[in-house]
């Protein structure tokens, strides 16, 4: 059975980020990262969402973020912060 999680956080960088995650059997089925932050280039977030879809481990989440963050810059939220929130949600969804 799939679990749907949603978390809104106020990032250290001053912007608001909402993460929606749908998980089944410790596998991400769907994910959306929304908010009033900035990403350069803009498509980095969509690339990240695609990379996270079907991730079934923390290592996969970390790899996705590390890969995308090499070629993209965020303003208002930091990559490490985003990684932590995603990992926390994944852990929660796997319990």
């Amino acid at each position: 059975m799939a679990i749907q999680l949603e978390r809104t956080i106020r990032a250290r960088g001053g912007k608001t980020v909402t993460i929606y995650m749908k998980i089944s059997n410790c596998r991400i089925l769907d994910i959306a990262i929304t908010g009033d932050f900035f990403s350069y280039p803009e498509d980095a977030i969509e690339r990240l969402e695609r990379a996270l879809a079907l991730c079934a481990s923390i290592a996969c989440i970390e790899l996705a973020i590390d890969t995308i963050s090499r070629s993209a810059h965020l303003l208002g939220v930091e990559w490490e912060e985003l990684k932590q929130y995603l990992v926390d949600m994944f852990r929660l969804g796997c319990q």
Binding site: T8, R10, T34, D36, F38
Partner: protein, 252 residues
């Protein structure tokens, strides 16, 4: 340095305006248009939302429909903005990235200085507040957002001079976490207009003059008045259907 000035104050709807902005960024990145400051208005009034925002989370969509307020998704990040026809001026600055503009956060500060200077011309103590706001006495009067393509950047932003803040507060529905972070319960407590601060009705004409002077001073440039090129108009026409499409507006 000289920068082209485009005054588009008759206004057009937000879909058209967003298409013009994107066309300008693309063409500037191809070196086919000069550095430009464009001053314009949304007609009719609109709410613009950031590229990454989830529409239903941040806008009262039903009320917008009832009031005849367009909902436009920008190609830039940032938050939702209410652009009231007759109460707000929008600026767009499209530049080649050079010098300090290469640093994204710094570039917000440099370009927002145009608005800071404009507001100061009214005798008000405006300040830049990172990442992308201009405030007066702690309240936001202007927000900006920036996109980059290759060697070009585009920053657009609002300056509220007579916006009805009650309408704004009803249309925009920021997450509770955002309000809490600002120590407020209602968005109305965090925003202001030039008219409110000056206790008199400020009109568009004086705001336009101040913003032109503000950017001249902030950027140390001369402005010459120009108009859209054929290429800008043609590309904007091609891009416009995207901004009108449900697929784009409701994509998140």
């Amino acid at each position: 340095m000289r920068i082209r000035l485009i005054l588009d104050l008759e206004g057009a709807d937000g879909y058209r305006q967003m298409a013009i902005d994107e066309a300008m960024l693309i063409l500037r990145s191809q070196d086919r248009i000069p550095d430009t400051l464009r001053l314009w208005v949304f007609r009719p009034s609109a709410v613009s939302i950031g590229y990454f925002q989830s529409l239903y989370r941040v806008v009262n969509v039903e009320l917008a429909k009832t009031l005849g307020v367009d909902i436009v998704r920008r190609f830039t990040g940032g938050g939702a903005v209410y652009h009231e026809y007759g109460g707000e001026l929008t600026y767009t600055v499209t530049l080649q990235i050079r010098g300090e503009l290469a640093d994204i956060q710094k570039s917000y500060e440099i370009l927002c200085r145009g608005i800071v200077e404009a507001v100061r011309m009214f005798g008000l103590n405006a300040e830049f507040k990172p990442i992308n706001d201009v405030i007066i006495h702690g309240k936001k009067v202007s927000g900006s957002a920036q996109a980059r393509r290759g060697s070009a950047l585009l920053q657009h932003g609002t300056l509220m001079y007579a916006t009805n803040l009650d309408t704004l507060a009803k249309l925009l529905t920021p997450p509770r976490e955002k309000l809490q972070a600002h120590g407020i319960t209602d968005i109305r407590q965090r925003v202001t207009t030039l008219s409110l601060e000056l206790q008199r009705r400020v009109d568009l004409d004086e705001v336009v003059k101040a913003v032109i002077s503000g950017f001249k001073k902030a950027l140390g440039v001369e402005l010459y008045e120009g108009s859209y090129t054929e290429a800008e108009l043609r590309l904007a026409e091609e891009l416009e259907p995207k901004y009108r499409s449900r697929e784009w507006i409701y994509r998140r």
